[in-house]
Amino acid sequence: MAILTVKNVFFRFEGLHVLQGISFAMERGEKVALIGPNGAGKTTLLNVLTGLIPPFSGRIDLLDRDITHRPPHVRTSLGLARSFQVSSLFLQLSVLENVLLAVHGTARTSRQMVRPMTAYKSALEKAEKLLESVDLLSKRDIACRSLSHGEQRRLELILALASGPIALLLDEPTAGLTTQESLELAAMLLSAANKDVAVLFVAHDLDLVFTVAQRILVLYYGKIIAEGTPEEIQANESVRKIYLGETYSEGNQRCLK
């Protein structure tokens, strides 16, 4: 059963056709990578899917429910969550406060204007469990700005997972990390997220893509030019030419083999 279905989505900005008839579907628990060169429209697609910008036309369904014109907070409460390319944490707040805010975002919280945020036991337990899953529990009382870049990326993932999503959109979750750190983060993500969660992640790191993804979408100037398993994408000649150029480096050839 498809968790997230995207049908013929168009988005135009100042005469530029950023997204041109994007269609795909994600099954329960499926890990899908979205790759493409800079300017292909990857982040725009995530912004359209999360409701931050409205599509020009097309339809987006989450579990057979039309969410095309739903605002972002409603999509999140229905089970669609995302992370950002640049860490969007609340730097002056503590690590725990960040996660609690994310947990309370979709929770039905009683007396939410008078009771201290840390007094909600179930939310606190959930937040601590999430922090433990990415080895950040020991840093729960530290201000976010004191975390290293890698720790901030991990926390960014946790903020997306805190709402208990059924579909998770990750915009370059490993940006700025080494390959080793990327793979560790991917392993953490896969263990932290419920295995039923459908994940769509944007990445430039092909090692990560071919390690984690079950299916790959290749976006090029607003169009999905190829879609398939990692093996199929590796064998796709147009992907080699368009995504990597006519002549590509030894390193990238190795990745695609």
Binding site: G51, P72, H73, L93, G105, M117
Partner: protein, 340 residues
Amino acid sequence: MGSDHKAGGRGVESSKVDRRSKGRRLVYIAPVIAALLFLAIAPPFMDIAFISLATRILCFGLLAMSVDIAFGYTGMWTFGHAAIFGIAAYTTALFLIYTHIHSFWIITPIAILMAAVLSAIFAIIASRSSGLYFLLITFALGQLVYSVAIQWKSATHGEDGLWGIPYPQIGFPLLSVSYYYFTLIVVAVCGIVLYCFTKSPFGYSLVCIRENEVRARTMGYNTRFRKLIAFVISGVFAGLAGILYVYFNGGIVPDNIGMAASGMATIMVIIGGTGTLWGGFIGSAVVLVLQYYISLVAPQRWPIFLGAIFIFAVFFAGGGIFPRLANLWKRAVGYGNLDS
């Protein structure tokens, strides 16, 4: 077994953290309790001018705290709070002057309702914008209310204002000292309520909206609705400050609700420290005490000194006086930096 041991260890660690957190909180609010005790004990030993000044500080302190909820916590740069303060003050004065309803307990809820409605109107109109544009829209709406107060002479007496407001009857008569204590209690209760509000999930979500509204929306927060609610709550407390002020002042004039008054409330918040709640109160105390004493010496020079205080606060107490004082206090009692 190993895991049990580990879990037990975490439990001990967690309870230590909780105890430390409670200790920190007590240390944090100790100066506030000391200030309240001073304000409660001092009046019998002071002259009437001090009591009058202290009542004024309490009224404007509450207004500044309400501005801080909108401006400091939620990031809504408002320049219309004096109008909200004013509509509650004018409602009270109009009831007392033109009707036979003189009960404090009937007029006050109506005046607060008027403040809530006006702030909701301001927020609905201004909520499609943010930052400087929000400020300009609230400024324009505030000036609209100011114009009504000046132009509607048959009701408001124009620039002369409405005078002759007696101290309220709250079951027993209040005079200057007892009204001071009444104001102190009301402002203290409002301060505690606002403090609890800022520490609640809703209060934290406002900080989250101020820092990154896009992120807040994708975390499940209906940011426009929350901003509207925050502005209305802020307006209710601004209205309450207006009611306390009109009874204390014995009247209200348009100058109390115009651009200068909104600017003064914002300056109080900036001097005291934005997003700190108590900072607004400290800003109110600093500005009004200095205004009082400088006006005694050089009445015409006060605005120059106000400008100098503002520049001093911005340059030498980045973030405001309250965070500086709080950090000094924490260092003095060995709790390190406020930010840590």
